[in-house]
C-alpha cells in the first residue's frame, strides 16, 4: 500500500510532535510511531527544561551558552549552542502558552531550580572567573517530560495531525542523494506500507538499550540512527554516551538530578560527601560525566557498598530535605525508590549506580535539522532529524541536564520550519511497490530462519559486554574485546529464529529488528571509541586520560562498510567565542 504525504515525521516524542505542530495546515503531514505517542520516551523525563528566564535570580542566555560549551568539554559546536540557548527563552514561554502546566514561583511565573553544570559568574565583573550554581531549570514537580509530551500531543490533536501509531519504520527511501519516503509495517497485522514523501524527519530517540543498566525505555533502540547508517549516511560522535550518575541500583531507573538540585547529596560507605573531593565548588551538582566517574572511582577504591547480588552502589541522600519538600518536588522519583527498592527516602538514603542515559551522538545535522551527507557539511535533500537521534552538535561530549528537552522543542520547531520552507518547491519522486521489497524480504527471512540462536541471548550478551567494555571507563584492550564480541554477535544474529510466526502483533519480530538496530549502533559507538585516543566528556579512556585538543577537537563521522569495519572521518568543531579551557568545577 502506498501513501503520499508532503511530510512524514518518524517519531512522536517531544521532537517529532513539536515538529508536527509547526507544519502549516496546507501541507499534508503524517507522524509514524512504533508506540502510541504518549508512550514515547520523552514522557519519562523528570527534572526539567532549561532557559535563562531569570525568574528566580539574574541569569542570561550567554551564561547558558558558556555552561553548555564547557559542559560539552568543548566538543559542542558553538554556533549551534548559541542558537539553542538564545531561543530557549522563547521556546519555554511558548510551551507555557501551549498549555504546559509548570510549577510556579511567588509571582506566578514559571518556577526554576538548580541543575548540574548550570552556573553563573560569582562576580558579574569577572565573567569567566569563579562560577556558582544558578536556578535555570523550569519544571513541573518531577514530571516535566510527562507534561511536556502530553501538552505537545494535545496540540497535535488540536491541529488534527494524522498519526500512524504502532507502525514500525524499517527503511529509508533515497534516490540520488534525495530522500523520497520511508517504509513501515503495521505492528497489528504486519502489513507493509510505503510512505511517499517530499520530506522526512527522523525524531526516533536514543539507544540506551545497548547497555545493561539504563534509564531508557525498552523501545530505546536507536532505530532511526541505524536506518540512516544503513542508507550509507554517517553517524556522528556515537562514542559519546552519557552515563547518568544516579540510576536506581540494579535497575537503572533514573533518579533525576533534580534530587541533587533540591539539595540531595551523594555519600560513600563511610557516609562521606565524596563529591567535595572531586568538584570542590559545585560538588554534587558537577556535570554528569564527572559525577559518574567519581562514583565508579569510589567503588573501585573500596568505598562503595556491596549489594546482595555482588554489585556495588553508593548512596543518594535526600532525607534531610524533609517530607514536605520531597512530597511536593520529588514525588515521582522517591516513589520509584519506595516501589522498586523498598527504600523510604524520607528516612534513609537511596542506593544508586551510574546508568546509561543519553546519546550525545546521532544523525548529523546542521542548525536547520537538515541531515548531513558527509563530514564536509553537504546536505541530503528532503531528510531532517531532531531530538536525541540527531547530533547538531549542541551537547558535544557531555550533555547538561535539562538541555535535551530544550533541544527537542528548539530543534523540533526549527526542523518543522525548514521543512515548510523546503515544501514550497519540493516535488514527489517516483516510488512504486518495489520499495517494500527489502522490508518484505527481511520479514520473510526472520520467519524462515531456523538457527539455534535466541534473540534475548544475543541482546543480553551485547548489553553486558557494552557495559563492561564501553561504559564509564574505557581502555584499548576492553574496546578491542568489544569489537571482537560485536563481530561474533553479528554473525550469530544470522542464526536466530523466532518462535512467534504469527502476523498479528508480533512483538518478537519487532524485538528481532530492534536488536539488529542495536548491533548497528553499537558498531558505530565502539569503533569511534576505539579510534579516539583521548578522554573528553563522557568518553573516558584510561589509557589516554587527558583531553587532546591538538588532535581531537573534531567530530567523528562513522560510515557503515558492511563487510568490514566502518570508515571513520572527522569534521572540525565550530569554535566562536570560547577557547577550550581546563574543565574544573
Amino acid at each position: 500500500m502506498i501513501h503520499s504525504y508532503d511530510v512524514v515525521i518518524v517519531g512522536a516524542g517531544g521532537a517529532g510532535l513539536r515538529a508536527a505542530v509547526e507544519i502549516p495546515k496546507e501541507y499534508s503531514c503524517a507522524v509514524i510511531s512504533k508506540v502510541f505517542p504518549p508512550r514515547s520516551h520523552t514522557g519519562t523525563a523528570q527534572g526539567g527544561v532549561c532557559a535563562a528566564l531569570s525568574n528566580m535570580e539574574e541569569d542570561s542566555w550567554e551564561n547558558h551558552v558558556f555552561d553548555t560549551v564547557k559542559g560539552s568539554d568543548y566538543l559542542g559546536d558553538q554556533d549551534s549552542i548559541e542558537v539553542m540557548c538564545k531561543d530557549a527563552i522563547r521556546a519555554i514561554i511558548e510551551l507555557e502558552h501551549m498549555g504546559m502546566p509548570f510549577s510556579r514561583n511567588e509571582e506566578g511565573k514559571i518556577a526554576q531550580r538548580y541543575f548540574g553544570g548550570h552556573t553563573k559568574p560569582a562576580d558579574q565583573n569577572d565573567p569567566y572567573g569563579k562560577r556558582i550554581p544558578v536556578k535555570r531549570s523550569c519544571y513541573s514537580a518531577d514530571r516535566t517530560g510527562h507534561v511536556m509530551l502530553h501538552t505537545l500531543f494535545e496540540n497535535t490533536i488540536k491541529n488534527q495531525v494524522t498519526f500512524f501509531s504502532e507502525y514500525f519504520v524499517t527503511d529509508l527511501l533515497m534516490e540520488n542523494g534525495v530522500c523520497k519516503g520511508v517504509v513501515a509495517f503495521d505492528i497489528a497485522n504486519l502489513e507493509v506500507h510505503i510512505f511517499k514523501a517530499k520530506a522526512v524527519m527522523f525524531a526516533t530517540g536514543g539507544y540506551g538499550r545497548v547497555f545493561r543498566i539504563t534509564s531508557n525505555a525498552h523501545v530505546g533502540t536507536g532505530d532511526g540512527m541505524a536506518l540512516v547508517y544503513n542508507a550509507g549516511l554517517p553517524l556522528e560522535d556515537m562514542e559519546f554516551f552519557q552515563f547518568h550518575p544516579t540510576g536506581l541500583w540494579k535497575l537503572g531507573i533514573l533518579v533525576s538530578e533534580a534530587a541533587r538540585g533540591e539539595g540531595g547529596i551523594l555519600k560513600n560507605k563511610d557516609g562521606e560527601r565524596f563529591m567535595a573531593r572531586y568538584a570542590p565548588t559545585v560538588m554534587d551538582l558537577a556535570p554528569r560525566d564527572m559525577v559518574s566517574r567519581s562514583i565508579i572511582n569510589e567503588i573501585r577504591e573500596g568505598r562503595g557498598i556491596r549489594g546482595s547480588d555482588g554489585t556495588d552502589y553508593v548512596l543518594l541522600d535526600v532525607s534531610h530535605l524533609g517530607k514536605e519538600v520531597i512530597d511536593e518536588k520529588l514525588p515521582e522519583i522517591t516513589g520509584f525508590a519506595r516501589t522498586y527498592l523498598g527504600v523510604e527516602p524520607t528516612k534513609e538514603p537511596i542506593p544508586i549506580q551510574p546508568t546509561a542515559h543519553y546519546a550525545m551522538g546521532g544523525i548529523p545535522t546542521n542548525v536547520n535539522c537538515e541531515v548531513l551527507l558527509n563530514e564536509k557539511g553537504d546536505i541530503v535533500k528532503g531528510l531532517y532529524a531532531a531530538g536525541e537521534c540527531a547530533c547538531v552538535s549542541v551537547h558535544g561530549a557531555n550533555r547538561l541536564g535539562t538541555n535535551s528537552l530544550l533541544d527537542l522543542v528548539v530543534f523540533g520547531r526549527r526542523g518543522g520550519k525548514a521543512i515548510s520552507e523546503y515544501l514550497k518547491t519540493a516535488k514527489f519522486l517516483e516510488v512504486d511497490e518495489s520499495a517494500a521489497k527489502k522490508t518484505n524480504e527481511f520479514i520473510s527471512w526472520l520467519f524462515s530462519s531456523n538457527g539455534n540462536e535466541k534473540i534475548s541471548d544475543i541482546r543480553t550478551e551485547l548489553q553486558n559486554a557494552m557495559m563492561e567494555n564501553c561504559g564509564v571507563f574505557r581502555t584499548e584492550e576492553g574496546l578491542k574485546k568489544m569489537i571482537d564480541k560485536l563481530e561474533e554477535l553479528k554473525k550469530r544474529y544470522r542464526n536466530i529464529s523466532l518462535q512467534d510466526k504469527s502476523k498479528v502483533f508480533n512483538t518478537e519480530l519487532v524485538e528481532a529488528i530492534e536488536l539488529e538496530n542495536l548491533l548497528k549502533n553499537a558498531e558505530a559507538t565502539v569503533y569511534g571509541a576505539y579510534q579516539r585516543q583521548e578522554s573528553r566528556g563522557a568518553h573516558s579512556r584510561e589509557d589516554f586520560p587527558k583531553r587532546d585538543d591538538n588532535s581531537w577537537m573534531k567530530h567523528t563521522f562513522a560510515f557503515q562498510k558492511f563487510e568490514s569495519s566502518p570508515e571513520l572521518k572527522y569534521k572540525p568543531v565550530v569554535v566562536t567565542k570560547y577557547q577550550p579551557m581546563e574543565r574544573k568545577y
Binding site: F36, K109, E154, T339, V504, N506
Partner: protein, 236 residues
C-alpha cells in the same frame, strides 16, 4: 522462590476463544516486577507471549493489565506485593477487544479522550514576551489530574463502562478536569456541554473502582465529583 501463573492467551489466527495457559517459574526473586516475569517467559520459554511495554517504571502507560483480578501496571507491581501462594492470574484489560494475548485495541479509549477537547482552549492573545501568570497553588490543583498516563486501567475497571460502551469513562473525565480547572483555559463551557450528556458524566455512579485501579494514585472520583458540582451549579 517458585511461582505459578495463569495467563490468558489468544491468537486470533488460531484460537476461537481466549484460554488460560499455566506457567511455572523456578528461582525467581520477590523483588521482580510482574513485567520481569512476563519478560522471563517471553525471552526464555515462549516467544509468542504478547504484551505491550516500554518504560518499565510506570510512566508511559503501556502495560495496564488485570493481575489477580485487579487492573494494574505490570511494571509497577512487585512479586512481593501480591499473593504468590496461589497461581497469579494475568488477563488483558477488560471491556476492550483483545488483539492478541494481553494486547487490547485502545481505539475506543483514545476516541473518548479526544471527545473532551484535551487541549488548552484560550483565544485571548498571550502576553507578548512572557508566560501567562498562574499562582503555584492554582498550578498544583492541576498536577494530580495531569499525572494521568492514559493507561486505561480506570476506564476499563468501571462497571458503567462495561454496561455502556459509549460512556466516556473516568480517564476522559479526569482529562476534562485538567483543563476546566486550569485558570488559563477558556473552554470550560464547551467541555461541560459535552460532559452534561447521556453518555457523559452522569453515568458515573461513584463506584470507586477507578480510584482503586489508578496506578498513579489519582483520586479520580473526587475529580469527577468536583466536575459534577460545577456542572450542576451552572447558570444558563
Amino acid at each position: 522462590m517458585d511461582i505459578q501463573l495463569k495467563i490468558l492467551r489468544f491468537n486470533p489466527e488460531k484460537d476461537k476463544q481466549p484460554y488460560f495457559q499455566d506457567f511455572n517459574l523456578k528461582n525467581v526473586s520477590d523483588d521482580w516486577r510482574l513485567l520481569d516475569v512476563l519478560h522471563e517467559i517471553k525471552w526464555n520459554y515462549d516467544g509468542t507471549l504478547t504484551f505491550r511495554r516500554s518504560c518499565a517504571h510506570g510512566i508511559c502507560g503501556s502495560d495496564g493489565m488485570k493481575i489477580n483480578g485487579r487492573n494494574r501496571l505490570a511494571c509497577s507491581l512487585l512479586l512481593k506485593d501480591i499473593n504468590t501462594k496461589k497461581p497469579i492470574t494475568i488477563e488483558p484489560l477488560p471491556a476492550l477487544p483483545i488483539i492478541k494475548d494481553l494486547v487490547v485495541d485502545m481505539t475506543n479509549f483514545f476516541d473518548k479522550y479526544e471527545v473532551v477537547k484535551p487541549y488548552l482552549i484560550n483565544n485571548s492573545p498571550p502576553p507578548p514576551d512572557g508566560e501567562r501568570l498562574q499562582s503555584n497553588e492554582d498550578a498544583e490543583k492541576l498536577f494530580e489530574s495531569a499525572k494521568c498516563i492514559l493507561c486505561a486501567c480506570c476506564t476499563t475497571s468501571c462497571p458503567s463502562t462495561w454496561t455502556n460502551e459509549n460512556y466516556i469513562g473516568p480517564a476522559a473525565l479526569v482529562k476534562a478536569y485538567r483543563f476546566i480547572y486550569d485558570t488559563r483555559d477558556e473552554g470550560a463551557d464547551e467541555r461541560m456541554d459535552i460532559l452534561d450528556t447521556p453518555d457523559g458524566i452522569w453515568r458515573c455512579h461513584t463506584i470507586f473502582n477507578c480510584v482503586e485501579a489508578c496506578p498513579k494514585e489519582i483520586n479520580i472520583t473526587w475529580h469527577i465529583s468536583q466536575l459534577k458540582k460545577k456542572i450542576s451549579s451552572r447558570e444558563y
